[in-house]
Amino acid sequence: MATVTDISPAGAKTLDLHVSPLGRVEGDLDVRVSIRDGVVTSAWTEAAMFRGFEIILKGKDPQAGLIVTPRICGICGGSHLYKAVYALDTAWKTELPPNATLVRNIAQACETLQSIPRWFYALFAIDLTNKNYARAEGYDEAVRRFAPFVGTSYEVGVTLSGKPVEVYAIYGGQWPHSSFMIPGGVMCGPTLADVTRSIAILDYWKDEWLEKRWLGGSVERWLENKSWADVLAWVDENEGHYNSDCGFFIRFAQRIGLDRFGAGFGNYLATGTYFNPELYARPTIEGRNAALINRSGVFVDGHYYDFDQANVREDVTHSFYEGSHALHPFEGRTEPVDPAIGRKQGKYSFAKAPRYEIPGVGSRPLEAGPLARQVVAGKPGAASWQDFDPLFHDAVTTVGPSVLVRVMARMHEAAKYYKLARGWLDQLDLHEKFYIKPQELPDGRGFGSTEAARGSLSDWIVIKEGKIENYQVVTPTAWNIGPRDSREVNGPMEQAFVGAPIADTSDPVELGHVARSFDSCLVCTVHAYDEKTGKELARFRIGEGA
């Protein structure tokens, strides 16, 4: 759905696409792109829905965030709960028994283990059946496996994705939208059968999906891959790997070029997740980095930096909020403006634009998500309890980031998080405490953060006289799809669109791949504009593949 107008004096073709909605899941995202000579030259990502959770939380019970913030996103609701409770733990200076940290870790990991196959089959892989690829070798096989509802792997992948959250429900009562993590611990007091059932369910999921369907081999063998070259060699190692969904995907993705676009800035953020039970028994903002199992960090222009929440800003220059400030979330403000008015001020999105201030370097947009986490996992200096994994640092420095690399970083976590969750289940001491009642301090400030499936997710809470004075949430989707800032620097996803080749302007599936490789929790809409005149030419269109 595009019109081609040859208006450039140089004879370059400028294409105008208007395609919508592009992605899938919470709220709507419009993406405008300008295309020239079959390549995207600029992009603007526009979050099109506003609910005002931060406004609702003002003046409420300090624990209201445990109920309200999971409802920001039902896909990452457990992650919202996890970071919201740590914001309160740090504000109230609680003590956490080791079991509480373990149960929180297990639950958080299980939400992500659910998300990995569900995202891959229900949201991402269906684009591989797009008719644009009909002439690619392996297309029939892609359709056989990944066609929505009827694909041989689709149904298995989507249905088995519900298994890890059965484990979540054993501890939290249900998934999505439990609020079972509270300052001082967790609400549950698991029994022996709860733990044995959890182990059986997780191992079933590992056997039936992760090893049989996805890897075509063992988790242990997959985890021996330490470089991108290792991954490619793994595919050809035996028929099991080669014909697995993973092996097939890597081969088919290369054939259709998913390894050649969607790079983005190559700058990454992980706030880290999962805590060492002994080291985070008394959660503090300052003590957070050292207690993490999956580390935090920032990777910019090839250099690693430590993450410090004090360096986060949210810029609203181009966001539908009053002003053009870039405030730290403790001072953050959420004052919406009518888009009809905001547009006249150059604003174009309900997402704020999160930026990270690197001392001595400056303010940067950073990509969040599995690739960011796995690049940070390659940071030197891991302590004995922390994850060190060089695989994706190698990938981004040898073959460079792309849609394929971003997808594989996510899928890699299935094996890693399964191993972690199984280990934590073994460490639960059922005869010890799961909760230590805290003192509900009337005043305080807290910071909680985690890695949702799709990236760094953080809360900043200010409590005054027993109620919420200010509450700010910075989501991975805001990090990734946020708009330009005061210096007109693109957001990460805007940048990742730039350079994407569009083979068939009537069905620009490449844009869909880029957007969905970020797994933004928004239904995306793409409009494309005449690069010269800015005039929008094409009409509304719904659809996958753009």
Partner: protein, 323 residues
């Protein structure tokens, strides 16, 4: 074959995620075994591209039969009644909702947001959100109290935050298999087959409730007792089958030690999350629960409670859900 269109307004997608946890039938079974033709859903791939656009307009104009319109999320009316806080396909989502609801045989609201406005409608309701036919407890909502679908039915409310997948899939199967007439609704337009019973019906803590034995602490403390007395559990006042049809095939919040927050009722979140109300039973004079189980009165209940405590056996004061 029944056609179904699923839209999301001010939504978190939690109901879609819950729906994807379904097993009997699974989301795939609905399509392959029960002939539900999902014309479009915001996060699942089906009819796409220009065909889907055409389909939207055809449904909205009544040119293509739409049997079931499912709506998830609030109808966002702000700012100033313009609906510009939720744009979809270049129009306020509310305009799509009105046109599609009027053309559908049956309209199903899934989750609290679509039923009553849910969390986004909590004061000060910054987006001016409402449910399809209710705003919290007040009938009316976006479509109006007297609105009826083409089949002559009001909006079928399947509340919950989120709704359990079975509540959704079983109603869809009932519609697709010609049992629409069997869907009896209660006075909040909820299917009685699910919402006549209480959340407490089937709760594993009900014997502690019988003898008025309280859980005294979260965590290890939830191995005994009932959560109604101290932790604000709304199980005796909330209508849902959470302890008849378990969550994720495993458990429920109250079984796992989390107080019911009453999320299938229009007042959720109760007390608008005012300071001191979260996970705490509201009491009169510091001892008597301000709210007693549905249908009883405080005096009768206190008499029953006093007698029950006298009758309480020794085991009711000990841990039951042990290692």
């Amino acid at each position: 074959m029944a056609t179904l269109l699923w839209f999301q307004g001010g939504a978190c997608s939690g109901n879609t995620m819950s729906f994807l946890n379904a097993e009997e039938p699974s989301a795939c079974d609905l399509v392959t075994d029960f002939g539900i033709d999902i014309l479009w859903h915001p996060s699942l791939g089906m009819e796409l591209g220009e065909a889907a656009q055409r389909l939207f307009y055809e449904c909205a104009r009544g040119e293509r039969p739409l049997d079931i319109f499912v709506f998830e999320g609030t109808v966002i009316q702000g700012p100033g009644g313009s609906g510009r806080y939720d744009m979809f396909a270049d129009r306020p989502m509310k305009d799509w909702v009105l046109e599609l609801a009027n053309q559908a045989s049956i309209v199903v609201a899934i989750g609290d947001c679509a039923c009553w406005g849910g969390i986004p409608a909590v004061a000060p309701n910054p987006s001016d959100s409402t449910g399809l036919q209710y705003l919290r407890k007040a009938r009316g909502g976006f479509l109006g109290a007297d609105w009826r679908s083409k089949a002559g039915l009001p909006v079928i409310n399947i509340p919950g935050c989120p709704a359990h997948p079975d509540w959704v899939t079983q109603i869809l199967v009932a519609v697709a298999s010609g049992r629409t007439a069997d869907i009896a609704l209660d006075d909040l337009q909820r299917p009685q087959t699910f919402f006549k019973s209480f959340t407490q019906t089937g709760c594993t803590r009900v014997q502690f409730f019988e003898y008025k034995q309280s859980t005294m602490e979260f965590g290890q403390g939830t191995r005994t007792g009932c959560l109604f007395y101290e932790f604000g559990c709304r199980g005796p006042m909330t209508h849902s089958p959470c302890n008849r049809i378990l969550w994720n095939r495993q458990s429920s919040k109250t079984r796992a030690g989390m107080p019911c927050t009453g999320c299938t009722e229009p007042e959720f979140p109760f007390f608008d999350l005012a300071p001191g109300t979260v996970f705490k039973t509201q009491k009169i004079s510091g001892t008597i629960p301000r709210e007693v189980p549905t249908g009883t009165d405080p005096l009768s209940y206190m008499a029953l409670a006093a007698a029950a405590r006298v009758a309480a056996p020794k085991w009711s004061k000990e841990d039951m859900f042990v290692v």
